[in-house]
């Protein structure tokens, strides 16, 4: 470990990139859980779908990258709104299991459809942003820097939306007490649909942003969703600040253990951190527990 001084900026950078992206994904998951009590297993598959769309639009048909991002966000926002309107709304108030099984069905469907149209192979996408930036003698890929900054902006934007914009405030009200919110004249249907659209558009956008850095394949959602669950539970279920804390914590642990140990152990390190947190705070970092 004599070169620790050399690799730590790399760890910090990778931790920030991973943390920002995990947070972006976990926020979407936490948002719809807090509002609608839906544990969306398909969330990571929608991230994958964003990557696959980017592969076709940008990698194959050579559209402008920013146009691609806009199209991906629009498509997934519509998909989210439609799935809420026609699928999840029917199961509202039936408990945890129904929506969960439904999202599992959707997850299998998205994977199956991708398998048919995209094939089994994992593919890469040429990078839209290239080059290296050197800060204080340490060099970072511009691409990662861009992804990190965009993610951070989106995270801040989401928090601003929830805190200041009227429909965002309505979401918070719904999360706190759906009945009271309804009595105040908040349209549960409309707000739920909006929350779903935002959550899934963010997942798709994360997929589109990360597609040039990682590979795209029909199965990349499966390991990711477990990590997202860990993050959301670590932070406290349904807590948005908790999702940020969990996202960055796991991002840094993964980046550090990946650089210091091997890949296999990095996965176990995440669980080690999680177990420690759970022994001390079973309800997660910022959650109110369903303790008995």
């Amino acid at each position: 470990m004599e070169n620790l001084a050399e690799i730590w900026p790399q760890i910090v950078m990778n931790g920030l990139v991973l943390g920002a992206v995990y947070t972006l994904l976990a926020l979407g998951l936490a948002l719809i859980f807090s509002i609608m009590r839906v544990v969306n297993i398909a969330h990571a598959d929608l991230y994958m779908l964003g990557g696959v769309l980017t592969y076709f639009l940008f990698g194959q048909w050579h559209l402008n990258y920013f146009l691609t991002l806009i199209i991906v966000v629009a498509c997934l926002a519509v998909a989210g709104a439609v799935s809420e309107r026609f699928l999840f709304r029917r199961l509202r108030g039936t408990g945890l299991a129904g929506p969960l099984i439904l999202s599992l069905g959707l997850s299998f469907f998205i994977r199956g459809a991708t398998l048919v149209s995209f094939g089994e192979r994992e593919r890469g996408i040429p990078s839209p942003v290239t080059g290296v930036i050197s800060i204080g003698g340490v060099s970072f890929g511009t691409e990662r820097l861009v992804v990190m900054i965009v993610s951070l902006v989106l995270i801040v934007g989401l928090f601003y939306f929830i805190a200041k914009v009227k429909s965002g405030q309505a979401m918070r009200a719904l999360a706190q007490d759906a009945e009271a919110a309804y009595l105040q004249g908040i349209d549960i249907n409309q707000i739920s649909m909006l929350a779903f659209a935002i959550s899934i558009a963010l997942a798709g956008l994360a997929g589109a942003l990360l597609a040039p850095i990682f590979v795209v394949g029909y199965a990349i959602g499966a390991p990711l969703i477990l990590k997202l669950f860990i993050i959301v539970v670590l932070g406290g279920l349904g807590s948005l600040p908790g999702a940020v804390a969990g996202g960055f914590l796991i991002g840094f642990v993964e980046a550090a253990s990946f650089t210091l140990f091997s890949g296999k152990l990095s996965y176990l390190a995440i669980f080690a951190v999680m177990l420690i947190v759970f022994l001390i705070r079973p309800q997660g970092l910022m959650g109110k527990a369903e303790l008995q």
Binding site: L96, L104, S107, F109, L226, L291
Partner: protein, 336 residues
């Protein structure tokens, strides 16, 4: 109606233990699918047992895995015969559930569900890096169940790779055992206690039910049966890897239990056999297999929220139709 139900159970039992084995005596593929479906039915039934106390668990694969590893290690490292290792695997899994149940069952609801999912994943990942249990390559060359002879009488025949029939009967026995035990639990005061906890655990605690202890008890009972399945799996396949027990298997158990109808004892069994055979029937259109499977899941959960078994409520009208028929069967059904 009661006679009708009894008739249905007898018909299914005869089909399961006599007609299918005789009909498909030499068709190893069909027997294999039935064996897998029976295994999964048992685990799906344990998911239902947990659900009776109001919890749903994604961690059952951890106990299947624990059973498989303990049985395989007992057999290979200590030379324990299969017929001893099988119940031992169940007991060890139950003890394991007891130990992890104390901290884990402090949580409930979504926390508990996701935590069990994560525990299953941790165990799978830990087994991949732990060399004592075979690491990533797993365990292989596991012994098959031994034959037992009493004098000249063969109590249990030879288990071989080419003949799946002994395995079929072994898992059929385990499945029927599970059903009988769970039915007894359902109808016992213990089952009533579990349901009281499901309905309102605070109220249950206030009338003197030790909620935590009952949760741990049901966790251990379900782990026992998962352990048996794990042991069977190990000595049936004779080789397995940590990744044979992924959390996606665990998710599938929950899926089958709910699609079949978690409110009914027959639900998880119907769900497992139904969905597994649906999957197998779609082999000719392999490309679209996952999509159609997923479509079926979405349709069932949207239009039959009580699961496939909730179609049962239409049975009286079907029976009435049959009742209009002439003949002794019609007369008998009409009387009920």
């Amino acid at each position: 109606m009661k006679n009708f139900r009894l008739l249905a159970i007898i018909v299914l039992l005869v089909l399961f233990v006599l007609v299918i084995p005789i009909l498909f005596r030499n068709d190893n593929y069909i027997l294999h699918v039935f064996i897998m479906a029976s295994e999964i039915s048992i685990v799906a039934l344990t998911v239902r047992l947990m659900y009776i106390t109001g919890e749903f668990t994604f961690g059952q694969v951890a106990f299947v895995m624990f059973g498989a590893y303990s049985s395989a290690l007992l057999a290979t490292k200590a030379g324990v015969p299969f017929w001893v290792a099988l119940p031992m695997a169940g007991i060890l899994s139950a003890l394991f559930a007891l130990v992890i149940g104390f901290p884990v069952l402090r949580l409930k609801g979504t926390y508990f569900a996701i935590l069990t999912l994560i525990i299953a994943e941790v165990m799978c990942q830990a087994a991949r890096v732990w060399d004592f249990v075979g690491g990533d390559t797993g365990l292989e060359n596991l012994p098959r169940p031994d034959a037992i002879h009493i004098g000249t009488f063969t109590l249990i025949p030879e288990f071989t790779a080419i003949d799946k029939l002994p395995y079929y009967y072994l898992i059929a026995f385990l499945l029927i055992l599970t059903i009988v035990v769970f039915r007894r639990i359902d109808r016992s005061p213990l089952g009533a206690t579990f349901r009281a906890i499901q309905q309102n655990d605070t109220l249950a605690a206030s009338i003197g039910i030790n909620v935590r202890w009952h949760r741990i008890l049901v966790f251990s009972i379900s782990a026992f049966f998962c352990g048996l399945v794990g042991s069977f799996y190990a000595h049936y396949m004779t080789v397995f890897y940590p990744r044979s027990f992924s959390v996606w298997d665990s998710i599938t158990y929950v899926l089958y239990a709910f699609l079949g109808g978690i409110g009914y004892l027959g639900g998880p069994i119907l769900g497992s056999f139904g969905m597994i055979w649906l999957w197998e029937f779609m082999h000719p259109i392999q490309k679209f297999q996952p999509m159609i499977f997923a479509g079926a899941i979405v349709m069932v959960i949207l239009f039959l929220p009580g699961g496939l078994f909730s179609l049962e409520k239409f049975l009286p009208s079907v029976a009435a139709q049959i009742g209009k028929m002439s003949g002794p069967l019609g007369k008998k059904l009409r009387r009920n």
